[in-house]
């Protein structure tokens, strides 16, 4: 679709109707993972390793099996062998084999007639462990004396001579680095670290699984991607994917952490072993923190060359990241994002994915990008301060635009970073005067976004109302945005379209709701599916009017003659066509399956004002502004919601959230009491500005908006704290003790 075809104003797109699932959610009727029961249902519970690294010598479940009400116990022995690659990783993470790899690693699972009996049974399973040396820090894991977690796991990319814990290596870049740094008036190199954080969704993982001896299975589960659950669970269990039907529940938040499997295969294995009785499993909050998929922690070194006028001449980044006891830390996506906002003639990136005795990391909202932004956007701010330059002006001077070659390779199409920077400069927050101990910080952020495998089907009802079936679970309001795009395309009322998230038996393959793709990819496919239905409806009208289908157009929800010479026929509305479709050839529907291309990146700029108590180091967020390019905001309220939610998670990550381990490698804070996510009284109202630079790769110009919002807060807060106190913190979280120590050190106190 050429750019100029993207209209400026629409009938429905850009309006703020009530979302279709609102009533169920405000009345408590919406059904999430743990809200469903089934006849004959058993309750499952998991026995988890209390050690960070231990060989499993023996598992004795005899006492547990003898407990009245216990119906089945499974261990790794109940799972097929011979898996390789990521399938093996998934099985190993689902349930430990010879070695427990982290505190919380599943070792055995029990199914019983009540939850309490299942919990009691866990205490009756005896496991003999041989405790092994462990490591949890990324740099410690790379040192020669570090325990090797899985020798031989390094893949083809890892050069010789590195510790076996280094399992992936990447390096890329372009331009003449030496010349770049030589041309700079100021070259600075600094190191930054970020700790692992958890997505923090309030709904713990939960599922209800049933698997018969015939290999046929059913699963109800809270997930971002039920086709992934199907494929992964089938592989881990050794059954055929098509025989496992997965139905998505409403999902109580995911942010990337519910795009993979944890307890699902255990529920199915227990069900199979218990004669096919359904098994419900619900994680406790402590299990969610210990044994699901927090993001990686990172140790980063960045070097930047800048001229006196702020022009960037060279950028170099080395990222060392641990993503738990399995390959998968988002090193390459972090490195791709590091300098993605700036046109720098010479860049070089090196990255290491390192194993530690921590849970297998999963994606967390623009995985890798927040860490990269923390390092690069902080260093740029430090250099602006040193050269006395305005941080927004320097970013504007170097900002990438359409036609710029990106730091990770490809040349950019239309993008909105410049417009976002300008909108931030023009915002009233920028002119609010700052008092003592107060400071303002800015930062830019980026995410590629993702298309992904997408299948959508659309059906015209007999009354002319429309049902759309999508495979992307709706977390942030995508049913509303897809209904808006479908109704706009069909020229009918928003209320006449119902969008349903359907199970794996009812639709072609879909990737999860990840990569900010739901509104973009499912929306795009729904529009194309709608156009197929329109073409068929025009054919039906043409046949009724006895004219050529090419001579029929579709306007305001009705077939109309294309022009005066096509014939004088009154418009034939969708309801009329639908009422007669049974006798004019059959039901009318449209569908579209594609691996969606034409993805538009989304840039954002955040501005935050903080006040730091110089006596305690506590940071209070006074004002927070999010400016981000949405391409086209389909439902502006839910675009704002993504901006505000991303900022809030970023603020938590920057100030208080972290995984804290004891000397034995055990997680010390697996509860919301000590894993400190922001509470309502911690935050101000979060101001938002939606920039719209349409993405030509989407019929309505949509760019994914779900992830960019979490990337700028980390550096923006570091820059604001530096402005307020003069102290520069380069490790997260910037908790009060660390801020106070930095203030003391900076004042020589």
């Amino acid at each position: 679709m050429a750019k100029d075809e993207i209209q400026r104003t629409y009938r429905l797109i850009g309006t703020r109707p009530d979302r279709p699932d609102g009533l169920d959610k405000v009345t408590g009727r919406a059904r999430y993972g743990a809200d469903v029961s089934a006849p004959g249902m058993l309750h499952g519970a998991v026995l988890r390793s209390p050690h960070a690294h231990a060989r499993i010598l023996r598992i004795d479940a005899s006492k547990a099996l003898a407990l009245p009400g216990v119906k089945a116990v499974v261990t790794r022995a109940d799972f097929p062998t011979g898996l390789t690659g990521e399938d093996w990783n998934l099985q190993e993470n689902t349930i430990a084999g010879e070695v427990a790899l982290y505190d919380g690693h599943a070792v055995a699972a029990v199914a019983a007639t009540s939850r309490l009996i299942a919990q009691d049974a866990l205490r009756l399973i005896a496991v003999d462990y041989e405790i092994l040396p462990h490591v949890t820090d990324v740099d410690a894991a790379m040192r020669p004396d570090a325990p090797a977690i899985r020798p031989g796991a390094a893949d083809h990319s890892v050069p010789e001579g590195l510790h076996p814990n280094v399992v992936k290596y990447i390096d890329f870049g372009h331009g003449d680095l030496e010349a770049g740094f030589a041309a700079a008036d100021l070259v600075r190199e600094q190191s930054y670290t970020t700790e692992a954080t958890h997505q923090g969704y309030i709904e713990p993982h939960a599922c209800l699984g049933q698997l018969g001896a015939d290999g046929k299975g059913e699963m109800w589960v809270c997930t971002q991607g039920h086709w992934y659950i199907r494929r992964m669970a089938a592989a881990v269990l050794g059954i055929e994917a098509a025989q496992l039907r997965v139905t998505p529940s409403e999902i109580g938040g995911g942010f990337g952490g519910k795009t993979t499997i944890f307890i699902e295969p255990l529920a199915l294995a227990l069900s199979r072993k218990a004669g096919g009785r359904p098994v419900k499993m619900v994680m406790s909050r402590a299990e969610v923190f210990r044994a699901t998929g927090p993001t990686a922690s990172a140790a980063m070194k960045v070097r930047i060359g800048m001229k006196k006028d702020g022009t960037l001449t060279a950028g170099q980044a080395e990222f060392r990241m641990q993503g738990g006891a399995f390959p998968g830390a988002p090193v390459s996506s972090a490195l791709y994002c590091a300098f993605a906002s700036y046109a720098i003639p010479a860049v070089a990136h090196v990255g290491y994915d390192v194993l530690t005795n921590r849970p297998k990391c999963a994606a967390y909202r623009a995985p890798g990008s927040p860490m990269a932004a923390f390092a690069v956007e902080s260093l740029i701010d430090e250099m602006c301060r040193e050269l006395g330059l305005d941080p927004l002006e320097v970013r504007l001077k170097n900002a990438v635009r359409e036609g710029t070659k990106s730091s990770y390779g490809p040349t950019y199409g239309p993008i909105g970073l410049v417009q976002s920077l300008q909108a931030a400069q023009a915002h009233p927050n920028l002119s609010v005067p700052l008092g003592p101990n107060q400071g303002r910080g800015v930062a830019a952020g980026f995410w590629f976004n993702h298309g992904g495998e997408t299948s959508v089907s659309l059906a015209i009802g007999e009354d002319g109302t429309v049902t759309v079936s999508v495979g992307t679970p709706d977390i942030g309001g995508s049913r509303a945005s897809i209904a808006l795009m479908t109704a706009e395309t069909l020229g009918i009322a928003y209320e006449n379209v119902r969008v349903n998230v359907v199970e794996t038996g009812a639709l072609g393959v879909n990737e999860p709701t990840h990569g900010s793709r739901a509104t973009f990819a499912s929306g795009k496919a729904a529009v194309i599916a709608a156009r197929h239905a329109i073409a068929e409806m025009c054919r039906r009208a043409a046949a009724a009017w006895g004219i050529d289908p090419e001579a029929v157009d579709w306007q305001d929800g009705a077939a109309v003659p294309a022009g005066p010479n096509a014939g004088k026929f009154p418009p034939m509305p969708i309801a009329e066509i639908a009422a007669r479709m049974g006798s004019t050839g059959g039901p009318i529907s449209g569908h579209h399956e594609v691996t969606a291309g034409g993805v538009g990146a989304s840039f954002g700029v955040h501005v935050v004002d903080v006040e730091v108590d110089p006596e305690t180091g506590r940071t209070t967020v006074l004002r927070y502004l999010v400016v981000q390019d949405a391409g086209r905001a389909i439902h502006p309220a839910y675009v704002e919601g993504q901006y505000q939610g991303g900022a809030a998670q970023g603020i938590g990550w920057a100030l208080n959230e972290e995984y804290i381990h004891d000397a034995e490698g055990r997680l010390l804070n697996p509860v919301f009491l000590d894993y400190r996510v922001p509470v309502a009284s911690d935050l101000p109202m979060i101001d938002t500005v939606i920039v719209e630079v349409p993405n030509p790769g989407h019929p309505y110009g949509v760019r994914g908006v779900g992830e960019t919002g979490i990337t700028p807060p980390l550096p923006a807060l570091a820059n604001a704290i530096a402005a307020a106190t003069g102290a520069r913190l380069r490790s997260l979280p910037m908790s009060p003790p660390k801020v106070l120590a930095a203030i003391r050190a900076q004042r020589g106190g």
Partner: protein
Amino acid sequence: MTRIHVTATVNGDPVEFLADPRETLLDCLRDHLGLTGSKEGCGTGDCGACSVQMDGVLVCSCLVLGVEAEGRSIDTIEGMATGGDLHPLQRKFIEHAALQCGFCTPGILVAARALLDQNPDPTEQEVRYWLAGNLCRCTGYDKIIRAVMDAAAELRGAA
């Protein structure tokens, strides 16, 4: 493990159930009374997703034993609308897009109603501190606070 017979009133209706002494009121509402609107987000009183009112007092139902509910009157999210008519808070949450995944919404709505019952004209800070025990990870709280204050204004207007 012998279970104890409990009689109570839930959303105005008399109810009876058998509870193991170790089961929380939340477990009983969800597993014995089929009221799954109250959610378990943490089981330790840190997230508020299980908020109910017991004899008018806002509490976490995961920090109350089922057997302690004997003779008490419990109000859950399922009782917030009267028939088909939503409570103004429920309407304003939809109107303001004050929810995304919706998992924390029942607990926040029950807590917000308890607030407005005793403070019909709360300031932004009063709403934020009252709701500090209701964690939300999706919205950043902004639209939730606006929806609560808008509902308060409507209720004052109607009062």
